[in-house]
Point group: C3
Chain length 354, copies 3
């Protein structure tokens, strides 16, 4: 075998440069108090933080992404309990990579069937065990309520990494981080910048979409219009109880449509997620929708996708400027590094101004 056949390039033209995170970093004034307060909060929902706290989180993520090698040991001697009772490789590795890059150790549970829970142990007892064994819990479970049953007994923080069809808040934070990295001017109402964002999917059935819309509603000044693109079949169950009303109450203007290509030319950001994972199985909502390099996208529009992708997102988009989904996935690691550092009482190790 020829050595040339096995050579590879570590660097190549892509959207991963440090220009964007550095611009975002410059756009936000550091205020460490917001980060220190995160040490006593579980992460449950896409809208649990106010605007100022989210901005500080995005700032810290951008700071880490601008210079990843600077922050290598704040979590030394800290242990993450990575409990994926609903199996997931992508989200699990994203959290575990973030934790390891901060110098921490990890204990993984990747199979619910062999745990005490399967044998009837209460989640409160499991939480009590976690209190003794680790410093932070990341939980994914097909059961929406497991998170809340554990929370009551925990004295260490827990992160909701997907609870049934309910929420997936750190995915939403990563989505928002990608949007602000792309266009930092959206952060401040005084800039008067706004985007039209289209979301392909069913807010009532997809936890990533539900959490994203909640996070988006914390920044209503940045959203000119939110367009939900869905198929006819899901029209009747598009929103959950009060879901639409709460978003509108916060100032989000919502339009719904079933015609993707008609609305595409208007959109600045397109969020696509045509598959909804529900435990071990999945459903396809809007499988009539797909994006490709031939779609009538605005020339400077960006596409976001929580991945893994199916046929709804053509690979011919990967090498176009519309591809921000890879940057979104990469940024999720830095966003989680920022969040985790603060949650386990190590914020002071990464703040410049104390």
């Amino acid at each position: 075998m020829n050595v040339n056949d096995v050579s590879f390039e570590r660097e190549r033209p892509d959207v991963y440069g440090d220009a964007h995170p550095k611009a975002l970093l410059r756009a936000i004034q550091e205020d460490g108090d917001y980060l220190v307060q995160l040490a006593n909060q579980h992460i449950v929902s896409g809208d649990q933080f106010d605007q100022a706290t989210m901005k500080q989180l995005f700032r810290l993520a951008a700071k880490i992404e601008s210079n990843p090698k600077r922050f290598h040991s704040p979590l030394q001697n800290k242990i993450l309990i990575s409990a994926f009772y609903e199996p997931s490789t992508r989200t699990r590795l994203s959290f575990e990579s973030a934790w390891h890059r901060l110098g921490g150790d990890i204990m993984s549970i990747t199979d619910r069937s062999t745990t005490g829970i399967a044998k009837g142990e209460s989640l409160a007892d499991v939480a009590e065990m976690f209190n003794n064994y680790g410093d932070c819990v990341v939980l994914r479970d097909t059961n929406e309520s497991s998170l809340f049953e554990m929370m009551d007994a925990l004295r260490i923080p827990i992160i909701n990494a997907g609870n049934g069809t309910d929420e997936h808040p750190t995915q939403a934070l990563a989505d928002m981080y990608a949007i602000f990295k792309w266009r930092p001017a959206l952060l401040d109402a005084s800039n008067n910048e706004k985007i039209k964002i289209g979301v392909i999917g069913v807010p009532n059935k997809m936890r990533t979409v539900r959490s994203l819309l909640k996070s988006l509603s914390v920044f209503p000044h940045a959203v000119e219009e939110l367009v939900i693109i869905h198929d006819e079949a899901s029209a009747a169950e598009l929103f959950g109880a009060d879901q639409r009303e709460e978003l509108e109450l916060r100032g989000i203007k919502i339009r719904i449509t079933t015609d993707l290509n008609a609305v595409l030319p208007e959109l600045d950001v397109v969020y696509i997620n045509a598959i909804s994972w529900e435990g071990d199985t999945f459903n396809t909502y809007g499988n009539s929708f797909s994006l490709s390099a031939k779609s009538p996208l605005k020339h400077d529009a960006i596409i976001l996708h929580p991945l893994a992708r199916g046929e709804e997102l053509a690979m011919d988009l990967d090498n176009t400027p519309h591809n921000w989904y890879f940057s979104q996935a990469r940024g999720a690691v830095f966003l989680r590094m920022a969040l985790l550092t603060c949650m386990v009482e190590r914020a002071e190790r990464v703040i410049d101004v104390v």
Copy 2:
């Protein structure tokens, strides 16, 4: 979502203060020689150590529990092979947490079906592999003899974390550590302090009970009476061959009864474990027995339970002073930290007097 809904308290009134471990620490004079000798021993049985060695182990555990942050790196660059051929989350995480808190790295095997053993590889060959790959092995297997087959080929220490229905010695050490933490005066015969301890279960069928009784028999001066509480169904198979005789030979006075509530008012310590795990299945012995806040317990009696619990231990006991089972579970991590440090030739890093 309101931030207050996701806030939590890291500290709260509980039995986890450092008063008890500090009292135990003061009650024992350090003698590091006993700990250094642990570097050439496998951990197999609840009675393999003499009284002096066990006291030094409990002292070191109490020293760590009194100040956990002091001991963070003695196992740096040491690798634990965590081999749970019989799946277990609780015991596995307890060992792995202990190892990580000491600064070591871990390789986990959580599924026997994919190993060479399943394909007919001999346990001696597996042990030879472990010699090359790690510094210590923790083994749980449904097969009682696996431990012994590996031991013969090992040049690194192995810990029995449960071999069939035979033994689970570190659980017993953790049980004893909880008892002495609760009442340090029991350690020395010269204090003339004694307890009545009741054990709900079947010594012949439960590895935790078998190991506990062995460990208990190393301190006969502390036991006024051991009461075995069992149901009629298990009367004929209550003890294994010579099991009762050996305990009595060492000076343990044994009574057996089937009437829990009649004996409860006499007991200082109640050990309950009404479920016996046997591989992937479990049997319930004495399911007529259960403890709750309404049980006629002595006012200062403590309850121990190896967990996970079923219906035999009511949650209304959790917030009573009888609850020492949570302290027992927590202490198990510190006990294992003490043991592991010594086993991999790092005792000198945690001893004050060398």
Copy 3:
């Protein structure tokens, strides 16, 4: 239980002393340039390196084996993605042990069924995820092509730890390392030393054999003759297309035979591997062949075996001087430590002459 029953010896007479690695170390002049170049190469095939590069790798492995405690942190803050879609305990632990001994962290995937791949995610997308999450990938897959599909999208190095029945190059490097450790004079053509090596197995069906023969062919001066020992049933499919021709083109003289005991008295090195793992199942080729202490081996012949072993290799050989298979397994960890250090741009931390 008596303490003597649980005592063990950390040291005992064996082939693991440091005399052999030290002799190999002395036999090779350091030239770090070859090692630095490894930072931009995937590890795919047994013959991708030239002789000079392989010698430097063996030298570094011998340097580490001569003094393992000297090299404990070159991979600090580096993350290995250990992706064993085809389950394997032995090879996985060998790589993970090597990585941990260098101070790095690990994320393991031990089950393909729960990954996005099982749900239709492309391997290119998985590779893109790995780019963001880790610093190096070790991949084992039953599918020969998975490796190549990932390689194209990777910006971090990947190691082929077994791709179907194709190759297992680091096993071959470990095999060669064992041979040169045993007899360092074979390294240089000017010494005019040669061995006869017998390989029991089917080069067309066994990835370990295929890779070994390729690696062997990089050192044709050391091979007087290669004898392939096979059963009648596999005569028709013994070699793949061009496999034999390529080896002969490089100067390897090949003989084939079905009579093991007739050829054994001639052989200096016997490589036995009578079982071929193919995904979750295995096939036995040449099950009429086996080695034991009664086999007519040359008095100074050595036996190599990639392990795990079945009935083809009797345990009565373990305590004879023919047993170099344990040394081979042990050396594989050091060989992998050498390779991994170089692949993640840390070669300069272990080279004396820079």
